[in-house]
């Protein structure tokens, strides 16, 4: 009897098709044949492998009986779960992780306040996702190329972007590596292998496939990693990029920060699948779901994903379950569409930073005094950085026209001339902190 494989195959005839294999020899591929071992057992030799027939008219269920389980190492109280399968983190790395998580938290608080005071125009916080940011960065090497969405400044922080550099960018002054051209939080630093943030959702996912392709061509011992949210998985670019990565066998980690909300759209209105992880298999990609608020779990998952991606030259999908404890951005007030107690619960009982702190304190590596010192030092440094950034002048007018092309073309030079003439005639209408 043909075993029921539950694929709901129609027993009707399938039109035979020749297909040409892309890799390896260019011989004409398999032709369809129906083998008859005995009159009751028939198998379809189809491109991609043998397919069993079934006489049951059965449809695959739209959702599995159980949701895909979630990997975690630390429990809610910061204790290692005894059955946990994980790699021990060295003390220096563990402490840098915590210190960077605290720095990120402080950075978020202060820059958010600065925006509210009108000192910067816009800001996006990472509150609740500190573990994702820092722990994933810690598991990578500096040669791995990061293609971010916009809620991952922690990766830059881990790699060495200074608080002054963050401030310079957000104030758009002349020391900004982006030359003041982008909104705040659209950081980019090619020295640290961190691609400049582009506001558009999910456009960075195919970029990451291209980056991984380049790394594969150059046979580098590095991978690409791209981050996106639950909302980003609805974009066409997400699906096509995952498909491409699987077909082309490139070393890329697709990291989905499933934080429950896409501005005001909850995940129940974003998709009906079991999150993002379930989709990996649809594209032929190895995937894992991990507790995004557990720094050690994120560290381990990314570490393992990176090894597999590079050694086997394949894409890996990591879905981290977490919560966007802050607003979408400074232009949003999330209390309008979600209950206050939900936000409070995730900010306190499920906070990734305090959970991780319990673990390092449990190891005897941390105490209250060190905590206080760290927080006050970071705060002081940040306030100084902001003051300095605020006072620094903006990029010169000429930078409005450079970098559109590799050299400034004649039409832009002409437009610059026109602009300068206008400024000369009406200096009062021109901002005083932009050098001409």
């Amino acid at each position: 009897m043909a075993p029921s494989c539950g694929t709901g195959n129609h027993p009707s005839s399938l039109i035979p098709r020749l297909f040409i294999r892309r890799l390896g020899s260019i011989k004409a591929g398999e032709s369809l044949s129906q083998e008859c071992d005995d009159s009751n057992f028939q198998v379809l030799d189809f491109p991609g492998g043998k397919v069993n027939f079934s006489s049951e008219l059965r449809f695959l269920s739209e959702s599995p009986l159980e949701r895909i389980s979630c990997y975690r190492v630390l429990d809610d109280y910061g204790q290692i779960i005894s059955a946990s399968n994980f790699q021990q983190v060295r003390k220096e790395i563990a402490l840098k992780m915590y210190s960077d998580m605290v720095t990120l938290q402080t950075m978020d608080t202060i820059f958010y306040e600065a925006q509210r005071q009108g000192r910067i125009s816009f800001y996006v916080t990472t509150i609740g996702e500190e573990a994702i940011n820092i722990a994933s960065a810690a598991a990578l090497s500096i040669d791995d190329i990061v293609i971010p969405q916009y809620r991952e400044p922690g990766v830059l922080l881990w790699r060495g972007f200074t608080l002054q550099e963050f401030a310079n960018h957000n104030f758009g002054n002349k020391y900004d590596s982006g030359k003041g051209r982008q909104m705040p939080v659209h950081y980019g630093c090619n020295k640290l292998n961190y691609f400049t943030v582009s506001s558009t959702i999910a456009t960075q996912i195919p970029h990451a496939v291209g980056v991984a392709f380049a790394l594969k061509m150059d046979k580098k011992n590095a991978c690409a990693i791209t981050y996106f949210g639950d909302g980003g998985t609805s974009e066409g670019d997400f699906h096509a990029a995952l498909n491409f990565a699987a077909v082309m066998e490139v070393p890329v980690i697709f990291f989905c920060r499933n934080n429950g909300w896409a501005i005001s759209t909850p995940t129940t209105e974003q998709f009906r699948s079991d999150g993002a992880v379930i989709r990996g298999q649809a594209y032929g990609i190895r995937s894992i779901r991990v507790d995004g608020n557990d720094a050690l779990a994120v560290y381990n998952a990314v570490h393992a994903a990176r090894e597999m991606a590079i050694s086997e030259c394949r894409p890996i999908l990591v879905e981290a379950l977490t919560y966007r404890a802050g607003h979408h951005s400074t232009s949003d007030d999330s209390t309008k569409y979600r209950p206050l107690d939900e936000i409070e619960h995730w900010r306190t009982a499920r906070d990734p930073v305090s959970r991780y702190r319990k673990w390092i304190e449990g190891n005897g590596w941390w105490n209250d005094e060190v905590e206080l010192n760290l927080r006050s030092n970071v705060r002081k440094e940040l306030l100084q950085a902001i003051q300095a950034a605020e006072k620094t002048e903006k990029p010169a007018l000429a930078e409005l026209f450079t970098d559109v092309y590799d050299q400034v073309p004649s039409n832009l030079r002409e437009q610059e001339k026109l602009l300068r003439e206008t400024i000369k005639e009406h200096p009062g209408d021109y901002p005083p902190d932009v050098p001409v």
Binding site: C189, V209, F213
Partner: protein
Amino acid sequence: MAGALQAATAALLSSTPLKTYGSDRLRLGSAPRSLAGRKGSFLVVRSDAGFGSGSNARTRPGKLIPNAVATKPDASASSTSSKPGHELLLFEALREGLDEEMARDPRVCVMGEDVGHYGGSYKVTKGLADKYGDLRVLDTPIAENSFTGMGIGAAMTGLRPVVEGMNMGFLLLAFNQISNNCGMLHYTSGGQFTIPIVIRGPGGVGRQLGAEHSQRLESYFQSIPGLQMVACSTPYNAKGLMKAAIRSENPVVLFEHVLLYNLKERIPDEEYICCLEEAEMVRPGEHVTILTYSRMRYHVMQAAKTLVNKGYDPEVIDIRSLKPFDLYTIGNSIKKTHRVLIVEECMRTGGIGASLQSAIIKEFWDYLDAPIKCLSSQDVPTPYAGTLEDCTVVQPAEIVKAVEDLCK
């Protein structure tokens, strides 16, 4: 029609010197216009002793010859040392340019649908996968936004991808990546990341390909800052522009035309490049400046024959560079003739012609003796019926009438 195109090409070669300006280092905006007096002089290449021998010449990268010109059959005695060149079709010229650049620079790669072993829908990449491998000539699944995005990511990481759209119309799906990332990321990253990508494919009205496959994407892309656009029209400039586009540090969109792929021409064996920002003087004249590009060049040249018989002397310029316009060449022509006719395949509204008119009015208003005339396609989707399709494309008879009206 193909016969007419061949005839037009032959007429081109015999009556006009191909004036092309090649330089080793291409700069957008820099214009070392040392080529004095763009009159009918004919520069002939003298090949160096150690450079390029026989059949190896076209594949061996060596010193670039600026002003390379295919020699005429009745070339003067001083050109005895130059090679006769070789004949090929436009799609082969594109392939040759691509092949040479891939051999020269291992970072150049191709990605697109069916470009690998299938060789591309118009055979531009035929044989390249066998030569350079599956990784450098990459077949992609059907998702234009995605493989264009992939090309952008690869470019930012140091590769030099050539992305092929099976038809320019399909690149509408890639508009997000082309506009938001390709054109912008060099600027928004503060110059940290460059995107030396080439996006190419066939467009324009073909032979009853239907509305969706007869689009003129140059109208839609022309506004995107950070992009450069060129349109090839002959095997000579197709190869030259392909090579120049690949070497450019800026993202370049290379527009090919579905009906021009089988044009035959004799091109030099020596390596050469066409300048991306330059227009091509097809036929110098005195009475009227006719600005055109891509397939319309041939309709214009056909009309030019009739016009010459009627006693007119049109100056025909193939603008080639759609973004930015070569206002230097165009301006010099207008200063001489004072009358302008633009012949394009774009729609009346918002096409290249509309922008060109606007630029000319702004720069050369004082030199015009008559309003600018612009012949374009109507603002309708291209119909499938052959007779109707012909009505939407500017025909030589209309061009003749327009010149007559202009010169009254």
